[in-house]
Amino acid sequence: MSTIIRKASIMGGDPADIRIEDGQIVAVGVNVGGADVEIDASGLIALPGLVDLHTHLREPGGESSETILSGSRAAAAGGFTAVHAMANTSPVADNANVVDYVYRKGLEAGYVEVRPVGAVTHNLAGESLADIGAMARSTAAVTVFSDDGKCVGDSLLMRRALEYVATFGGVIAQHAQDPRLTIDAQMNEGAMSAELGLAGWPRVAEEAIIARDVLLAEYTGARLHVCHLSTAGSVEVIRWAKQRGIQVTAEATPHHLLLTDDLAQNYNPLFKVNPPLRTRDDVEAVRRGVADGTIDIVATDHAPHGSATKDCTWSDASFGMVGLESALSIVQHALVDTGLIGWADVARIMSTTPARIGSVDGYDAPLTVGSLANITLVDPSATTVWGADKLAGRSTNTPFTGLTLPGRVVHTFFRGTHTVRDGSIVELSQAGNA
């Protein structure tokens, strides 16, 4: 079957037609001929399929809040064609069995490429290394290792992990949070936590770990990826590390590009997230960090939680926000519409670079002839009043309800398969035969 996308602006540039056959892009330009299916994409921007380096799909163990299938659908709705499923499931993805299970379920769902992330330590306990080699050599071929949700706090263990993972060509994605500095921490430590009487999560708890880790990365010569950095000081540390030539990459989440800690004012647990929302100065610094390349990528940290874990006091509530469906709109709102970056940069920070960090094939030459047909078509002129009805996953803990957000994902193609059509998720017949 062949498909032609007509007159899409290629990463914000000149309009062109894209011809897809057998899951590949076979022609880009004018006069690409006719096809079985034609899509009028005038006014739409064509981006390479988005790649999320930081997703919680909750399966196995947390199926009441998300499953690999429901999370895959949410990802497709947000324009993603690949996601990295974090290891903090139950059981933990610290061995080849679990990562292979997640990988296989991703294939069955068929909406996106699900790349399991392996745990760094057994049971995320921070005490002994997980089965890193076995996971790297499993069917899932894990390359990203993370104890996300928990920090690898022990310096010796972090050194060994960096060295050992490098042995298999992988990367450690560190959740930078000094455990002792953040006992019982509930929100950013500052004026708002002082007023609300909530235990503070000080910025230094993140910055100190990042500083230690970049030095360990330099010393060991290993690659380090820093998850969801949230403070102006963290941006400075990464900038310094990159100037020294240290192999470090960094990510920011959409919510840290937009929201601030004063949203905790009414103790609404929808704004409880880890790392916490910071101040306006931090948001500005993180945006500039993305714009100048200090921060390499935007990743969602999509963290679905059932209503019971958000319908309670702030302290009782779980940390986390869903973010797959809203990510591109938030990036457009915070970075593109503010003039900080262009659409080609969006392709870089949300597709090409995260694919490179995660060693995901098929994204190195976006929207060119011969590459996989992972394509997202976005209408940048659309606006949406955000709400739970815009979500496709199982949980509704979005912090953006009520905001008017720009941009809408109109079509998503995953290896040529139409997963989102005219803004609606396409029902695929399951078992990977799409």
Binding site: G190, E195, G197, L198, N266, Y267, C312, W314, S315
Partner: protein, 314 residues
């Protein structure tokens, strides 16, 4: 006012009216017939997820003095220990007819969450939430101060120009937070005293002066010193080295007491660690307001219940 969650945002006129109403309630407490029919037919549910016998008894006495029916729920030995949530507990109590929920909870913001969640329609009174606020304590403290300082001419007055030092674990103190907002609204000059480990960060916007030793604060001359209870376990968490050193720098000792003006009031929200944050002889002295604070607690809580009742008007 539908709920009583925080002293922050209570305007000056409302604060003075609450103090005046407290005075009227205190008068009733002196009568032969100490009961008012004001809340007849209403039910006040005291919901205590955190143990505090004295606060619970004070709210019970206040509700009974206004002729309310009172039901009390404490988490000890209840289904809460089996994992029943705040939401389920208060919804059950409301189904049983509670018009007022008096909530004591170990989580900061629990009362605010209850008031805003839409789980219930009842009035919510914050009887202490984590390390956030304890607004009825601040009301009774301000009332105690005003009546001790101004006596018969107290009615209608604020606390303009009154100098108050609050010393102790400001970081973890809901009493301190509620007092800061209310006392500032009433025009008092508030000075907070604590080692840097027990002082919240980034409070430059608070309407207070901040110093780090008690002597420094007392040198300025004060009308009242409010000593806060120090939790002994803070020593183990490296907030300060030991009890002796705490007393030396932040305790209300007899030596400090002898050095201040003779009529300086000494307050404590209780329960006291005698000999740690306050010397026993000071707590028992004529300058101490400790017993007044306890007795005024009932009147202050009556005033709050009465004030919220008016909100039921459609």
């Amino acid at each position: 006012m539908k709920h009583f969650i925080s002293t922050r945002g209570i305007d000056s006129a409302t604060a003075i009216r609450l103090l005046d109403t407290t005075a009227d309630m205190a008068d009733v407490r002196q009568r032969d017939v100490k009961k008012l029919p004001t809340l007849r037919g209403k039910t006040v549910a005291n919901v205590f997820f955190e143990d505090s016998t004295r606060t619970r008894l004070s709210f019970e006495a206040a509700a009974l003095a206004l002729s309310a029916d009172v039901s009390t729920f404490t988490s000890k030995g209840s289904s809460v220990s089996k994992g029943e949530s705040l939401k389920d507990t208060v919804q059950t109590l409301e189904s049983m007819g509670a018009d007022f929920i008096v909530l004591r909870h170990c989580d900061s913001g629990a009362a605010a969450t209850l008031a805003q969640s839409g789980w219930i329609n009842a009035h919510v009174i914050n009887a202490g939430d984590g390390t956030h606020e304890h607004p009825t304590q601040a009301l009774l403290d301000a009332y105690t101060l005003r009546s001790r300082l101004f006596g018969d001419s107290a009615r209608g007055r604020n606390l303009a120009g009154v100098r108050i030092v609050i010393v102790g674990d400001i970081l973890h103190s809901r009493v301190a937070r509620s007092n800061v907002w209310l006392l500032a609204t009433l025009g008092a000059h508030v000075t907070l005293v604590a080692p840097r480990t027990l002082m919240p960060r980034d409070i430059a916007a608070w309407p207070v002066a901040i110093v780090h030793t008690l002597d420094e604060a007392l040198d300025e001359g004060v009308d009242a010193v409010m000593t806060l209870r120090i939790q002994k376990e803070r020593m183990n968490d490296a907030f300060f080295p030991d009890a002796a050193e705490y007393t030396r720098f932040w305790g209300m000792t007899t030596a400090r007491f002898d050095a201040v003006r003779a009529n300086t009031l000494v307050m404590h929200p209780g329960p006291m660690n005698r000999g740690l944050e306050i010397a026993g002889s000071i707590a028992d002295s004529a300058n101490s307001t400790v017993r007044d604070q306890v007795s005024h607690g009932v009147a202050a809580r009556m005033a709050v219940l009465y004030t919220l009742l008016g909100e039921d008007a459609s």
